[in-house]
Structures are given as C-alpha cells and as structure tokens.
C-alpha cells in the first residue's frame, strides 16, 4: 500500500453515511457553509440573492451550489411568483443526516477528514 492509499484509507475512516454525504452532497466549502447555515436557521426559504447575502457569498458562486444541493435532495427549490426559492428538504432522514454531519464537525479529526475529501473532489 503506497502512502496515498494509506492516507485515503485513513481519511475514509468515518461513518459510511457521513462519508457518502461529504463525497456526494456537501462536496464543496460553499455547500458546507450553506448546509451549516440552513441547519442553524432551518426554516429559511429565500432567493439565491438573499441566501448569498446571509452566507456572505457571491450569488453567482452560490447559485450552482444550491442547484446541486437540490439535485442531491438536501434542499428543494420552489417557484414562488417567478422567484426560485430554496429551502431545506422536508425529509426527516435528511434532517438527521445534516444534524449528524454538523455534530461530527465539532470533532477536529472529522473536520480534517471532511476537508481532505472536499479538496480531493475539487481536483
């Protein structure tokens, strides 16, 4: 086993559900910020522009990330009066997954592993 394989194995040593969540759903730092924001403010429902404002990010950068979160079932998009409005998906299972992810992030080792997977995914 070479050192890269060893690192990958070490970094994948986490709850399989959370590993999948990081690899396939929260696979960017903006998504991480958004998921944390919606976890802390769960009944937020707003336009891209306003969500970007809340997150202190550029709407151009936030829009594709929100769209991907919709595609992966983390969030839902609803058209209200011609405005695309984003909010957390209603699924209790998804809420639990987000809750578990945010709780896991309190552990520095988990955060290091999550950052590793996000950076790898960005390559």
């Amino acid at each position: 086993m070479n050192s890269d394989d060893f690192t990958a194995k070490l970094m994948s040593d986490m709850d399989a559900r959370l590993l999948d969540f990081v690899k396939t759903k929260v696979n960017s730092f903006i998504k991480w910020d958004l998921v944390r924001f919606f976890h802390e403010n769960p009944n937020t429902a707003d336009s891209v522009e306003n969500i970007a404002k809340y997150a202190g990010r550029n709407p151009v950068a936030v829009k594709p990330e929100l769209e991907e979160l919709v595609e992966t079932g983390v969030m839902v998009r609803q058209n209200i009066g011609g405005i695309p409005v984003y909010r957390l998906a209603d699924s209790a299972e998804m809420h639990q997954l987000i809750e578990d992810f945010i709780s896991a992030c309190e552990d520095r080792h988990f955060r290091v592993k999550a950052v590793y997977h996000i950076i790898r995914g960005m390559r």
Binding site: T44, A45, D46, G81
Partner: protein, 252 residues
C-alpha cells in the same frame, strides 16, 4: 368580542383584555426599545399559556438570533419548534408577498399544518424596499395584512422608528391606518436616566387605556408598569414636571 391575550403583564389590562382576534397589530419603536422582545413574548405566551401555535417571520435577523435571545428570557424556542408549535421563518418581503398571493403557498401550508393562530412579523419596515411610491407601498401592506387575516392569524407587526428621542418624524403613515391597533414604544429621558414608555394609540373596535405607562424589560420579558406621574410631554422624549405636581409637592 374575542380577545387574544398578549400575556404581557399590564398590557392586556390597557387593551381591555387583549388584541382582537384576527387583527394586525403594529408595534413601533426605536432600536432597542423592545419591539422584538414584545413580539417574541406574544408568540411564546400564545403557545405556552393559551395553546395557540405561532409563526415568526423575520426579514433580517437570523432565526438563530431569536433562539438565543428567547433563551435569555427562559423561552425555549427550539423545543417549541421540535414540538411543532412554532416556526421561525427567515425569508424576504418579496418572497412573502408572492407566497401569500398564491394558493397553497409556503406560509399558508405551515399555518394549516401547525394550526398557527399567532404571527410575529419582524419587521414591516422591510416592506418599504418593495415600493418607493407611498400609495403603492400602502397597497402592498394592505394586501399583506389582509392575507394574514385571511389565514386566521392575529399578528404583531414591528416597525422601526427612525428617532430615538423627541418628536417623531412624519414617517410613512399608511400602515398605521391599515393596522387594527397601534402600540408605541418610546425612550424617555428623566433625571439623567433613560426610561421606556408605552402608549396604546389605537385599538380599532374597542376602547383602551389612554395613559402613558412605564415599562421595563425584565429577565422574564416585558412588564408594563405604572403611568408616569407628575410629568408632562412624555412622548417628546424629555418630559417636564407637570405644573400641578410642582405646585403640590415642590413649591409648598
């Protein structure tokens, strides 16, 4: 007439029992006077004391801030949310306007699902960004308030007052006509200290107390206290001693 008690000590007596059911009630004051605290207390008491689930609609402060502020008064908003009796919704006036205009919108669905009876809108001032024309703005606010009534909600709508002390500027008055009641919170300077005053200016369809009361934000929320005795010009922000009071107690 069915009354909706605020549960704020001293206020329901001033309102002759509380707000009227299915009405929009404007609470106006400068920053820090306690508008949001009042609104949160109205919602919390509704759930805990009167079994009336509630919604908080915020246009600026993050819900997280409400959870934290409420906790300081011993009101566990997160627990009430988990019990399905409360939702703190963050959105924008634009989205809210369109949402309430549509059938089966987000707010309508929440009201139906939760059986919500009370609403805090914090703050109505944010609607001012939807229109620069005062006539158009008044129409938007009128439609918004009517939609809330249509949903069967008794609402508290906060509005920011631009002046801290003294005579209030002639602000956008439309909403004060549209609202069913109008409660004013003011800072008052007396003897080098800042006090807070509360006045019920209007309560459509009912009599109400006309006197100006002191109020305090205590560790358990707002408490309306005694009227300002022996002072005149309270709402100017810098009251003077009333002549009768000076004659009776000072000039003797």
């Amino acid at each position: 007439m069915e009354r909706v008690k605020t549960g704020v000590p001293g206020l329901d007596e001033m309102l002759h029992g509380g707000f009227l059911r299915q009405t929009a009630n404007l609470v106006e004051g400068a920053t820090g006077t306690g508008k949001t605290t009042f609104g949160m207390q109205f919602i919390y008491n509704g759930i805990v004391l009167y079994n009336e689930p509630g919604l908080v609609l915020t246009f600026e402060e993050f819900p997280q801030q409400y959870y934290r502020d409420a906790e300081n008064f011993g009101w566990d908003f997160r627990r009430l949310e988990a019990q399905g009796k409360l939702k703190v919704i963050m959105t924008s006036p634009e989205v809210t306007k369109h949402d309430l205009e549509s059938v089966g919108g987000m707010i309508e669905t929440m009201v139906t699902e939760m059986g919500a009876r009370r609403l805090l809108v914090d703050s109505l001032s944010h609607f001012e960004r939807l229109a620069t024309d005062p006539v158009e703005l008044r129409e938007i606010q009128y439609k918004f308030i009517n939609a809330l009534k249509r949903e069967g909600l008794t609402s508290v709508l906060t509005r920011e007052s631009p002046t801290l002390f003294g005579q209030q500027e002639e602000s956008e008055a439309g909403v004060t006509f549209v609202a069913d009641s109008y409660v004013l919170l003011r800072y008052v300077e007396m003897e080098s200290a800042v006090h807070k005053a509360l006045l019920v200016l209007k309560l459509r369809g009912s009599d109400h107390a006309k006197d100006i009361r002191q109020f305090a934000i205590t560790p358990t929320g707002i408490e309306v206290q005694a009227r300002f005795e022996g002072r005149e010009g309270i709402m100017s922000g810098t009251p003077r001693m009333a002549d009768y009071f000076a004659r009776a107690f000072i000039d003797r």
